[in-house]
């Protein structure tokens, strides 16, 4: 693996107002890597992704993206730099159609051909979306909305994808489809930082992982090692 760091977070403290959620979190993702962040509910995983995506402003620490500090930038600038965040809440535009949502995803791209190309790619990844091109996002099922959110996140040709719990609330079949899509992206050299509840599955597909508990990183390593780890097996795999 070519060890060029794409995302490097050092000693990050973050939270909401007076409430600190993350304590001294350090994490890095190299170009082309597929990394996961797991942890119990309320550990601060989403807060971490939001801090990177510029939706929550960090209290201290550094966040570097391809060598530039982004910890003080607003969310839209960070998106323009090539980070796509797919949130737990999805944040779709409920009053717009699938196609319009995708078009909004490509807001930062001016090249029309590139937009069409990206859209074709998304439709290839999720054929279901193509059928429902004209449906309002607000009227779609949970699974479809999730696919749309991922699709929208891909429309800006991101170099780093932050995905928050893509399998939450999905049937096994849809979950599998989502993981397949992430695999395809991985094949296409998209760097992915994945947050998941489904620890077994996640550690099987990713290359490296971090374990976040109560706002602190307690374990880090190759996914194959983490699967064997005593603590992980007890706490997350129920073995």
């Amino acid at each position: 693996m070519e060890n060029q760091l794409l995302l490097q977070v050092e000693n990050l403290d973050s939270g909401y107002g007076f409430l600190q959620v993350l304590w001294n979190v350090s994490l890095s993702v190299a170009k082309g890597e597929y990394v996961c962040l797991v942890g119990p509910n309320g550990a601060g995983k989403s807060t971490f992704l939001k801090s990177v995506a510029g939706l929550v402003s960090p209290m201290a620490g550094r966040i570097d993206f391809s060598g530039n500090s982004i910890s003080r930038l607003p969310g839209d600038k960070i998106c323009r730099m090539g980070i796509s965040y797919i949130s737990e809440e999805l944040n779709l535009f409920a009053g717009m159609t699938v196609q319009e949502n995708l078009a909004m995803g490509a807001f930062t791209i001016n090249d029309k051909r590139k937009i069409v190309e990206n859209q074709d790619f998304v439709f290839e990844l999720f054929p279901a979306l193509k059928e429902r091109r004209r449906q309002l996002a607000g009227t779609m099922s949970g699974g479809e909305r999730k696919m749309l959110a991922i699709g929208r996140g891909l429309m800006s040709t991101p170099s780093l994808l932050l995905v928050d719990e893509p399998s939450l609330g999905l049937a096994p079949q849809t979950t599998a489809a989502v993981f397949r899509a992430l695999d395809t992206l991985k094949q296409k050299e998209v760097t992915i930082l994945l947050v998941e509840q489904n620890v077994t599955k996640t550690l099987q597909v990713t290359e490296r992982g971090y374990v976040l508990e109560k706002g602190k990183i307690v374990l880090a390593g190759a996914s194959t090692d983490l699967i064997q780890n005593e603590h992980v097996r007890k706490a997350y795999l129920g073995i």
Binding site: A53, G54, L55, P74, G75, D76, C79, R80, S84, Y85, S87, E89, L90, N91, L92, F93, A94, G95, M96, T97, E100, A103, M104, G105, F107, T108, R134, L136, R152, G153, M155, S156
Partner: protein
Amino acid sequence: MFMAIANSNTLNLERVLTTLKSPAGITISASIIAAVLGAIDNGFYVIVNAIVTGGMWALVAMGLALVFGVMNVVSFVHGEFFMIGGLTAYFTFTPFSDYLMGNPNPLFEAVLPILAMVASVAAGVVVGILCELIVFRPLRNRTREQWVMNSFVITLGLSTFIVNSSQFILGTDFRGIVSYWNYPTLSFFDVYVSFDRFFVFILAMLILSAFWLFMRSSKFGRAIRAVSQDETGARMVGININGIQTLTLALSSALAALAGACLLFMYPAYPTVGLGPLYNSWFIVILAGMGNVAGAAVGAFIVALLQVLTTVYFGEGWEYTVPAACIILVLIIRPSGIFGSEVRGILNQ
């Protein structure tokens, strides 16, 4: 809402019936019947009047709906943009118009009113941007807690400030014109419509269509809608929220200013002239559903009709009381308006 209109081109009877039975359908049909009855009783001018003023109120109310949808600001200062538009048009138009008295020039006479309108649009844009930069942005940067109430109170301050500054600088004189163009009156059926009114109506229709296209298919129009639907989502796809909010306020104040310029021959500009348009556009926005921009365009004609009929049947001086009473009824029966509110979470909290 925009989509709902686009999707309904596959007409069938069942669909028509459900549409008719919806609150929007009932209200619209009732208005049409009222308009027809009013016209039979009092002549066709009832309908013409309602349509001409309705077009302009649509511009004002759409701006108000937009500001609420995108910025979450319940604006009390919107009427002042109307006043600024009227004043700008007056001060652009009258000097040249006086000059033209001595030196007639048909071409210049024809374009001068349009120049005045363009000037007031420009003034609206400038004032809108200033309000955003000097007032709303600092407030937003300080805190977003209790935003709706706080920003509402701040628009009260702005309105008081603008109205009285205008009075301080220009006094309380009425600054109006008799007409923009001295062209002969047009007649449709047996109703006489001055060229000004006719022009103003055509202009309103053109701007409504342009606005609709802008919101539907331009990049920034879509971005505006995106921000009103999900602000975080908009930020996530790279939309600069501050920029969109500035654009929104500039757009809405420009629309109100344009209306002020266009209606100068009916509403001479003076410091508190904005109150009437403000009341009207609030009636419209509540009737249509808060933040529903397309609904506001339709609601404008209903409220205009209501007002024309009020003046006919109740006499002068009731034109705000009766609509206010009707809108209170709407608020009671259907707080989200007849077309439904597009802004999420309006009903809870």
